[in-house]
């Protein structure tokens, strides 16, 4: 018998801190759009980067987003967290560098091998947009 429980806030935060990959949900004109995304959670914000495209258009049109992260062992053993909040572009140079450093530290294979001083230049050169999600609610469910 598969029973599902609500996760505590502590369990939710722990899962977000362990994860490196999730799914970003955006919407425009009441149409949903979901994409897989690497991220880092710094304890306050979910940070991720992307290149300009459909996602950034959606987020510009509607700041409300959600971010879903799961840990699945099999179909009977899983936990899944969803954060809802506001996506904000990170553009101040100091913030950009700090965010990129965190993202790259957490996902070392995500970018070409870069040293710290090269990160900002690489980000600019590749038209990388960095976003942070300021959570306003977190929900979690897991199998009992």
């Amino acid at each position: 018998m598969l029973k599902i429980e609500r996760m505590t806030q502590g369990e939710i935060v722990a899962l977000l801190l362990r994860g490196t990959y999730g799914h970003l949900g955006c919407s425009r004109d009441d149409n949903p759009y979901v994409v897989p995304m690497n991220y880092v959670f710094d304890g306050r914000f979910i940070l991720f980067f992307t290149t300009e495209g459909t996602k950034t258009e959606y987020m510009a049109a509607n700041h409300k987003v959600c971010f879903q992260v799961e840990e699945i062992t099999d179909e009977r053993r899983w936990s899944s967290v969803m954060v809802t909040g506001r996506a904000e572009p990170v553009s101040a140079p100091a913030e950009t560098e700090c965010a990129m450093r965190l993202i790259v530290e957490r996902n070392p294979t995500l970018t070409p091998a870069l040293n710290v001083t090269e990160i900002s230049a690489w980000t600019r050169r590749n038209h990388i947009c960095i976003y942070r999600i300021r959570p306003d609610a977190c929900y979690g469910r897991k199998t009992a």
Binding site: M1, L2, K3, I4, E5, R6, Y21, H23, L24, G25, C26, S27, D30, N31, P32, Y33, V34, V35, P36, N38, K64, V65, C66, F67, Q68, E70, I72, E75, R76, W78, S80, M82, T84, N107, T109, L110, A144
Partner: protein, 140 residues
């Protein structure tokens, strides 16, 4: 290099996978949950218990289902199906759809999927997403 998947390749991924992320709109904001599904022609079948996602889809039937197959950060395929939520209420159709789902997920009898602590378990709802547009990307 990232390339577009052909229609056939995109459908092949959608039909082969069992786990996707269902996106819908709840109170003007996106809402994403992982779901197990079974492909059925140009539709996918899903079962759920009444809750926030069902209420959201009844209010706005525009949904998407995102499915991926990720080996690592440079080797992956991902598709997104845009479509319409349709609740299956007709008894015969519902039985057929449930049969199709249970054939793929023999352990996940829907009546056994309960939110622990809920006293009276509501009947599971079976719905389909009619896929209207499917796009996909691949990097390898």
């Amino acid at each position: 290099m990232i390339k577009r998947l052909s229609d056939d390749e995109a459908w092949a991924l959608l039909r082969a996978a069992r786990l996707g992320r269902l996106g819908c709109i709840a109170d003007g904001a996106p809402y994403v949950v992982p779901v197990n599904y079974a492909a059925d022609g140009a539709c996918v079948l899903v079962h759920t218990l009444p809750g926030r996602k069902l209420a959201a889809m009844r209010a706005n039937p525009r949904v998407c289902l995102q499915v991926d197959d990720i080996t690592d950060q440079y080797h992956w395929r991902s598709v997104i199906a845009h479509g319409t939520f349709e609740e299956i209420r007709n008894g015969v159709e519902r039985a057929r759809a449930l049969g199709h789902l249970l054939a793929q997920f023999p352990e996940l009898t829907p009546v056994e999927t309960l939110l622990a602590g809920d006293v009276a378990a509501p009947a599971p709802v079976v719905f389909r997403v009619r896929v209207e547009r499917l796009t996909g990307l691949v990097e390898n």
